[in-house]
């Protein structure tokens, strides 16, 4: 019987079994940012501990990053204090830091892949739940809290309980206008927001195998929204081609040696899985969330459910979500009026996302009542988009074109919803208050769907918009 990638990576990174029965697992790459690290560095300082593997540790600033004016000191004094702490900590502990203004700055989960830091068969950790993103390379990424950030800084290890693996095969072919975001929202809609607890999700099947690295990153990114701390795709030629020539990827003969090792990390064809699920990709339509968690979604042709239509266990949650959203049960999701369009985040802030959104808005204008923001996931994405002129397309349509960061995905910088505004968002969470206003409302969808909603001023089916554009 063969082995899964998870099992191979787990075994190769096991240091020892701890007296508690947990596994001491070596972490190959630690990404650090300003929000979840200051107390961890203070703990090291208090005990006189160094960072154990500073050359496996990299830092940047993303959560609090202002996306308009990055002049220091920041106008936001709390952000300035956090930035100054990160600079001091990286200097004192010998960790490379890519600050605002640096060409390599960006959201941790965007820069790790684009710099070639994230590689197949590796373990990653970061004080951020979306560390599952790195699984797109066949790496195993763990989102952790600050005490565990301290553990990794001090020991390069985590104490963990083992996971089991669910393979999710996506079959068929995605229709034009249906994207990786729709696939993962559909998976979460089907398996639920806690369906993945205790599991690593292995995404497979022809749809996933044909996906680009950026699409795989989107899928793995939202594993955690389905309860799975870890999500991954087996590394293949697409993965290796993406890595070739990246700044931190091996070069020359070392690349060939690496590719041979990377290939060995993939799940064996006869690997046994603890659970298997199949999803027909051909049947998918664009997905939109209507509620307060990413599992509360419908196809764009669907209706917002009534509490009476959902399983008993979800009835109260559905009622509460409808009350918070101010939506009427039974109403079609299409036609829901929006106030804000946000394109960005570690889920959908990459170059291909901006290209798809730009294709939809080209030659159009934002609806007069809509405020639109495009926030590239990294400085490199921003520069690449500008080389292609995407920023001109967005600006001509009336969008704001910003600097790189997490921005309105979680509203820790000045980019926030106001009051009860409804946002069409390419981000990952529609939790109450998530986008910076305690009463603000979020509809998650693909970047192309956000772009289409921004132009129409309400939720529309991007497939019709794209069909219309090709007819013009």
């Amino acid at each position: 019987m063969g082995c899964t990638l998870l099992r191979k990576v787990w075994d190769r990174h096991t240091v020892r079994r701890l007296p508690t029965g947990q596994t001491q697992l070596f972490i190959g790459l630690h990404l650090v940012h300003e929000v979840t690290s200051p107390q961890a560095f203070d703990a090291l300082r208090a005990r006189g501990w160094p960072v154990r593997f500073p050359h496996r540790t990299f830092a940047t600033v993303d959560h609090i990053a202002p996306t308009r004016d990055i002049t220091r000191p920041f106008a936001d004094l709390l952000a300035e204090e956090m930035m100054a702490a990160l600079e001091r900590n990286c200097r004192d502990f010998g960790i490379p830091l890519w600050p605002l203004g640096d060409a390599r700055q960006g959201i941790v989960h965007v820069i790790g892949p684009e710099l070639g830091l994230t590689q197949p068969g590796m373990t990653n950790a970061c004080g951020d739940s979306h560390t599952s993103t790195h699984g797109a390379f066949g790496a195993v990424g763990f989102g952790i809290g600050t005490s565990q950030v301290r553990d990794v800084l001090a020991s390069q290890c985590l104490a963990l309980d083992p996971l089991v693996v669910r393979r999710i095969r996506v079959t068929g072919t995605l229709a034009p206008g249906v994207y990786a975001k729709d696939v993962i929202l559909a998976i979460i809609g089907r398996l639920g927001v806690k369906g993945g607890v205790g599991y690593a999700y292995e995404y497979a099947g022809p749809v996933v195998e044909r996906m680009t690295m950026e699409e795989r990153l989107t899928i793995c990114n939202m594993s955690i929204e389905g309860g799975a701390r870890v999500g991954y795709v087996n590394p293949d030629e697409t993965t290796f081609a993406y890595l070739r020539g990246r700044p931190f990827a091996p070069a020359g003969d070392a690349f060939d040696r690496a590719a041979a090792w990377w290939r060995e990390q993939a799940s064996d064809p006869d690997a046994a899985y603890d659970d298997e699920v199949e999803l027909d990709g051909s049947a998918l339509e664009p997905v939109v969330t209507w509620g307060v968690h990413p599992g509360q979604s419908v196809g764009v042709g669907g209706r917002i459910p009534a509490p009476g239509e959902v399983p008993d266990a979800e009835r109260d949650a559905t009622r509460e979500a409808l009350e918070f959203m101010g939506f009427e049960a039974g109403a079609p999701i299409r036609g829901t009026r929006i106030d804000v369009a946000f394109i960005g985040s570690c889920t959908n802030g990459r170059l291909s996302d901006l290209r798809e959104a730009a294709r939809v808005v080209a030659g159009q204008r934002l609806a007069t009542h809509v405020r639109g923001l495009v926030v590239p996931g990294s400085q490199a994405v921003r520069e690449a988009a500008e080389r292609e002129g995407l920023h001109d397309t967005f600006l001509a349509a009336g969008f704001e074109w910003r600097g790189a960061g997490c921005s309105m995905c979680l509203g820790m910088n000045p980019d926030k919803l106001q009051g009860r505004e409804v946002s069409a968002s390419s981000s990952n969470r529609n939790f109450r208050g998530r986008q910076g206003s305690p009463t603000g409302r979020t509809l998650l969808m693909s970047p192309a769907m956000v772009a289409a909603a921004a132009v129409a001023g309400e939720v529309v089916d991007v497939r019709q918009v794209l069909a219309g554009a090709s007819a013009r």
Binding site: R12, T14, V15, R16, L18, P19, T20, Q22, Q24, F26, G28, V35, T36, P38, Q39, F53, H63, L78, E81, M82, M122, G127, D128, S129, G143, I144, G145, T146, S147, Q148, D151, S155, Q156, C157, L158, A159, D161, K194, V197, I224, G227, R229, F255, R257, A258, W261, H293, G295, A313, A317, E320, L410, G411, M412, R429, F431, R432, R434, G436, P438
Partner: protein
């Protein structure tokens, strides 16, 4: 709020205290502590903002959030439903609960990251059957002065003469009972073994 209660140290074998019901599934960490309170370099003071936006919304709707009820002030055991602490990995969420005075959480299930963060702080999150979570919530809502007793040796929760079986992954249970829940010490015990793993992983040296 009980900011003077000492934070956990050493073995955690039992937690006894009054209960606080927090009904509802999938309570995410953005609700437990909204992101704007993460704009700080220390955890001190987070207790003042536990569930802040939920509490304000309840107030605006003319209702009282469990954390605002007079009779639940000083409670030590939070009683929750399923997938508690999902979403963001912010340790600020269990930190805020702990600093408010919560010393144990009893409920149906937890998000993995929240659970791991709570273990690292000495805050046990034990699982009970859904029907047990229901009666415990009803009990502490109806009798806020009742004492809940969580025993990690016998893995049970007792209140008013009624007992529910509780569960914890064996590693976490052992960590609480032995006081090894702060894992850093354990992880630093064998640096040679860590070196050996780093040496046999080809990517560490760049292939």
């Amino acid at each position: 709020m009980n900011a003077t209660k000492p934070l956990p140290a050493g073995p955690v074998r039992e937690v006894a205290g009054r209960g606080l019901p927090m009904p509802g599934s999938d309570i995410d960490t953005d609700r437990i502590i909204p992101a704007r309170f993460l704009r700080a370099v220390r955890f001190e003071g987070l207790e003042a903002h536990v569930f802040e936006d939920d509490r304000r919304r309840e107030q605006a709707a003319g209702r009282v959030h469990p954390f605002d009820r007079q009779e639940h002030q000083g409670a030590a055991v939070l009683v929750v439903n399923g997938n508690f602490g999902c979403g963001s990995s912010r340790e600020h969420a269990p930190q805020a609960l702990l600093r408010w005075g919560i010393r144990a959480i009893v409920g149906e299930s937890y998000s993995e990251i929240f659970f791991g963060n709570a273990v690292a702080l000495g805050l046990p999150c034990v699982s009970v059957a859904p029907e047990d979570a229901s009666w415990l919530q009803a009990l502490v809502a109806g009798d806020p002065a009742a004492t809940l007793m969580l025993d990690l040796e016998t893995m049970s929760v007792e209140a008013c003469g009624r007992r529910a079986a509780a569960s914890l992954p064996p590693g976490a249970r052992d960590a609480f009972l032995t006081g090894a829940w702060d894992a850093t010490g354990l992880l630093l015990e064998d640096p040679a073994a860590v070196e050996a793993v780093a040496r046999r992983l080809p990517y560490v040296a760049g292939f």
